[in-house]
Amino acid sequence: MALLSLTPFLSLAVFGLLATPAGFLRFRNSKLGLAPFVSILGLAVAMVSTVWLGFTSSSPVSFGGLQIDSFTLFFSGVLLIVAMFVAVASLQYMRDDPNKGPFFGLLLLSTLGMIVLAASMDLILLYVGWELMSIPTYALTAFRKNDPNSNEAAMKFFVLSALSSALIVYAISLVFGITGSTGLTAIASALSTAGPDVRPFGVLAIVLFIVGFGVKMAVVPFHMWIPDAFEGAPVTIGAFLAAGAKMAAFAAAFRVFIVGILPFNVDFYSTFAIVAVVTMTMGNVAALMQKSFTRLLAYSSIAQAGYVLMALATPFTTTNVPLGLAGGLFHVLNYAILKTAAFVAAAAIATKLSVRDLDSLNGLSRRMPQTSLSIAVIFLGLAGVPPLNGFFSKVMLFTGAIYSPYSWGGYLALAALINSGFSMSYYGWVIKRMYFDEPSDQSRIPEPRIYMAVLWAATILIFAIGLYPDPWIRLVLSAAAALH
């Protein structure tokens, strides 16, 4: 029954709406209330149904503009992992917050918006999904109402994000003007026969799409809100923004560019290549001198966005295999896990040490051994050290670049590889701080179990994907094929 395919959406919607009222109910006298459990249940149901759909459904199912294919399911899996990690970590992080109901409700609705983005084959739906994702995150970023940093972060985030939404609408207006349609397949066929007279509008639309999505994807120079927002936002929401919202923006970009605009005879690939190189270089270089852990994570996430952008620059090989695209998707998965876990680790440190300064990391391995170990693993994964997961997605991305039909593909890969090598300097530096430096305070710090659970789960996933990447590579290849 085709409606079953909607289970992930429905469960997120239902439980998301339920969570807010559930926030008023107490659960066995615990301080937590019922909302977190309702939302985690909702996420679990969505997750299980997504996995089940992934194994059973063979052909794509469409509802209006909503398309449930392996691309959708892949992204929904990734985003649900992120949401799950964030939700579980928030159990601890939001323990003392009185507004847990709205918090978890918004979290679920936002997750739903992200999945809708990944599933939308219609620009109207895409825009609705975009807003469904964004509006709750504005509120979530500002959730520490008494923390001026949280407010400031939300303010900046809102201003730039609203601007990006407006520009996306403007871009949609132009595409609609050219093609007279909002469905991506119709747009694709219209664009493939589009005459030269509409090209200027198409080009403007492409630019505005890049800018609009780029704000969330952390494309330089539209990235500037990111470090501020990540630092100011509640740390778990930082993870949600970094791993969830950003990846959802990539999902939207993949949909729009690969499905919709690809047939249009405009060479946007080189644009993406330039943007990718600038983004990763800027992210890596700026990360080097950061003083705050979350800001360092923010810049590293900007750099990682640069790598994923390569998937848009060189999606297909000369033999028309979506290798780069699949690599991009794989990197989305790996990055989502790594970055969420990194933020959770940051949350663990922030809750216990109440400073986010990098100096507080000195000698951390003796104070918080589990956290330090997972940070080390995560950072090595982000740097792309085998056999951790980040390595294989990078390999696919870079191979895809070399393998692409464009003459600059090799340079792109080389630039990315040099960046990747360079990035080790700050990742290694943090590891050095944790393991080699002397702490100013030797005392052992108890590590909250909930964070540790998330971190260990992530660490195991990092190793599992890295050691046996085959099923995952297959998964991303089929997801990429679904787009094409």
């Binding site: 509120a139 109402k145 303010m155 609203a162 407006a166 609408v169 609609f176 007279g180």
Partner: protein, 102 residues
């Protein structure tokens, strides 16, 4: 009826005013104004494109209904953030909201 280029021109001018406002203004509310102007510019575009083609399309109007509604909701949340900010800070001047940096 006026040609499409006229409507497009108005739309682009509104877009320009919006971006100008964004770059030069520091008051959060006024920045919200600018964003809304860009939305309106886009909406005008859509309606014009939908009407001024043969045959005219109704999809454009549907799209605009959505954008109007969503922009309004976004504005609502944005305004509540502004109120929140004003509670803790002396003002809502964005140039003063620069504790998070570098």
């Amino acid at each position: 009826m006026e040609p499409l280029s006229s409507f497009f021109a108005v739309s682009v001018i509104l877009l320009g005013i919006g971006i100008y406002g964004l770059t030069t203004k520091r008051n959060a509310i006024r920045i919200l104004f600018s964003v809304e102007l860009i939305y309106n510019a886009a909406n005008l575009n859509i309606i014009a494109f939908a009407r001024l083609r043969s045959p005219p399309l109704v999809t454009g109007q549907v799209l605009v209904l959505f954008t109007i509604a969503l922009a309004a909701m976004e504005a609502a949340v944005g305004l509540s953030i502004i109120i929140l900010v004003s509670r803790l800070n002396a003002e809502i001047d964005l140039s003063k909201l620069s504790k998070l940096k570098g």
